[in-house]
């Protein structure tokens, strides 16, 4: 028979159980009526869609979060993980996490401390070994980054 089975084990590097859990049970999916940050993103190459909504309090801290979309396990779990990451963070801190996330996927040298700071997000590290999928993992992060940067610009 062609197409040996051995190959599938390598997938474990990307599809950690925490990823599959977030894919099947995405967090914070209820839409918000009103949002201070509202951004939609698409990956034109695979059709993945993400919609992020946030409300911020007066100190610029994230209050309410909604993240929803459709697409592959990587883009959707990453978005769900992003929603958890945002809990209790202010804009500065969120931006920091985005930068760390990017660096992890770019295979930059990361210190122990930095990896610690990423928490559950480290589950996405394996994606870096699947270069075409990095865009999937970053879809929601790039969208949020753009939206926050634009907000800052105002």
């Amino acid at each position: 028979m062609m197409g040996g089975t051995s190959g599938l084990e390598q997938l474990d590097e990307m599809y950690e159980s925490i990823i599959l859990d977030h894919y099947r049970n995405p967090r914070h999916t209820d839409p918000l009526d009103h949002a201070d940050v509202d951004v939609e993103a698409q990956n034109p190459f695979c059709g993945d869609e993400i919609h992020i909504q946030l409300t911020l309090d007066d100190d610029g801290k994230v209050q309410e979060i909604s993240v929803s979309g459709r697409g592959c396990a990587i883009s959707q779990s990453s978005a769900s993980l992003l929603s958890e990451m945002l809990e209790g963070k202010d804009v500065e801190q969120a931006m920091e996490q985005i930068t760390l996330m990017r660096r992890m996927l770019r295979n930059d040298n990361m210190t122990e401390e930095e990896l610690d700071q990423l928490g559950d997000l480290v589950a996405l590290e394996g994606v870096k070994r699947f270069p075409v999928r990095i865009k999937c993992a970053l879809l929601s992060w790039t969208a949020l980054e753009d939206a926050l940067q634009e907000r800052k610009g105002k």
Binding site: M2, G3, G4, G7, L8, Q10, C46, G47
Partner: protein, 409 residues
């Protein structure tokens, strides 16, 4: 008679390739085909023996290159049933061929109030040039819809094509659904209404006999890379009288008869549409690709693909969680099968199958409106060619089952 797949496979060096530990199972032929060593050797032969710029050269290698280049054109003409080699214009790919018509013929002939008719099955390359022509000219773009079972709605076509129609464009085989469309009837409808028809042969020319005279179409396009040829070369065929009347589009060396600073006059067909140094090596190799297919016989190529597609449809529709987009009966259908799995996103499926050496395509297949009409944003697609076997179909189906289990873990 059908084709000898084992013998064919021996001609394709890439089929020896392994992906990780697994042998390559290449099922992405609608994106691009693999190349037999004859085609690859033609490139090497050209570059090691008679590489020179064509036309205008008096030296031996230039004469040899010119002769081989023009012989390749004649081979392609014969392959698609075109009577005059000079009606075959080399382009980079079919996308350029369609742009050439939309700009050169379109800008001169399509005006506000006119209608341009495309089908619901067009590739982006068969949508956007016409959409933009419509925007430039003030014409209206109209779409022949598909039926629920992935066929063109020919009743609707009869209403949509009318006296306002200037041109109809249609894929002869859908790159997503595999449907083979009755472009001959569409051509008749177009002609009855004084319109022209352009047939997108990107997926048909590689896989079935094509005869532009029998189809009675006005323009026909193809990409060599999908039919055993190299990347970087395609063809626009057009009825000579149309091509003669069309203004040139790109300007430069070779397409010119005479130049002063004030004005220029144009060379004869086909050169009028070929500006600058052409893709000589790849044109010659395309001639060899066409020789290869002609030696097999396009009827036999088609028969093999009907067989393998029938088998694949049978096995894929047995999978409960898999849904095939488009026709599941094997009549008027080519070897392209798009499908979705209820639990595994196509992107994840593609990555997982790749680990087993199985190359399929996933995404919108450059046909967003069509894919979206199935209420999905992406699909997986397996597409077959002369070197594919039923054993490879089995590998695909077993692979899908394993991935299914993997994502249930």
């Amino acid at each position: 008679m059908t084709i000898d797949v084992a013998k064919i496979r021996a001609d394709f060096p890439i089929l020896e390739r392994r992906i990780g530990d697994a042998p390559l199972v290449y099922l992405d032929n609608a994106a691009t085909s693999q190349k037999p060593k004859q085609v690859i050797d033609a490139l090497t032969d050209y570059y090691t023996r008679y590489n020179a710029n064509v036309h205008r050269g008096v030296h031996t290698m230039s004469v040899e290159a010119t002769e081989a280049f023009e012989a390749a054109r004649a081979k392609v003409a014969k392959f698609i049933g075109a009577r005059q080699p000079e009606s075959v214009i080399w382009t980079r790919n079919i996308s350029e061929a369609i742009n050439l018509v939309a700009y050169s013929w379109g800008d001169a002939n399509v005006h506000a109030g006119d209608e341009i008719v495309i089908t619901a099955m067009e590739h982006h390359s068969g949508i956007v040039p016409w959409q933009q022509l419509a925007l430039r000219s003030g014409a209206t773009l109209r779409i022949i819809p598909r039926t629920g079972n992935g066929r063109l709605d020919m009743d609707a076509a009869r209403k949509i094509i009318n006296s306002k129609t200037k041109i109809v464009t249609a894929v002869q085989m859908s790159s997503v659904l595999g449907s083979v469309n009755d472009v001959k009837t569409l051509g008749k409808l177009a002609h009855e209404n004084g319109a022209l028809i352009l047939v997108d042969g990107a997926q048909s020319a590689p896989h079935m006999p094509v005869d532009v005279e029998d189809l009675d179409c006005d323009f026909f396009g193809l990409s060599a890379h999908k039919m055993l040829g190299p990347t970087g070369i395609g063809v626009l065929w057009g009825r000579p009288e149309l091509l003669k009347a069309m203004p040139p589009w790109m300007f430069g060396g070779d397409m010119i008869l005479e130049v002063s600073y004030e004005k220029a006059s144009w060379n004869e067909l086909p050169y009028k549409f070929e500006a600058g140094t052409p893709n000589i090596a790849d044109a010659i190799a395309t001639g060899v690709a066409v020789d290869y297919l002609s030696a097999l016989g396009m009827e036999n190529v088609r028969a093999h693909e009907i067989e393998i597609t029938g088998y694949a449809l049978k096995r894929l529709t047995e999978l409960e969680r898999v849904e095939v987009l488009g026709p599941t009966d094997n009549a008027d259908r080519g070897g392209i099968i798009s499908f979705n799995h209820a639990d595994v996103h196509p992107h994840d499926l593609g990555t997982a199958l790749d680990r087993m050496g199985i190359a399929i395509r996933t995404g919108h297949h450059c046909a967003m409106p069509l894919v979206r009409s199935y209420d999905v944003v992406a699909a997986a697609r397996a597409s077959f060619y002369i070197y594919n076997t039923t054993a490879e179909v089995d590998a695909l189906v077993e692979g899908i089952k394993q991935v299914e289990r993997y994502f249930q873990k």
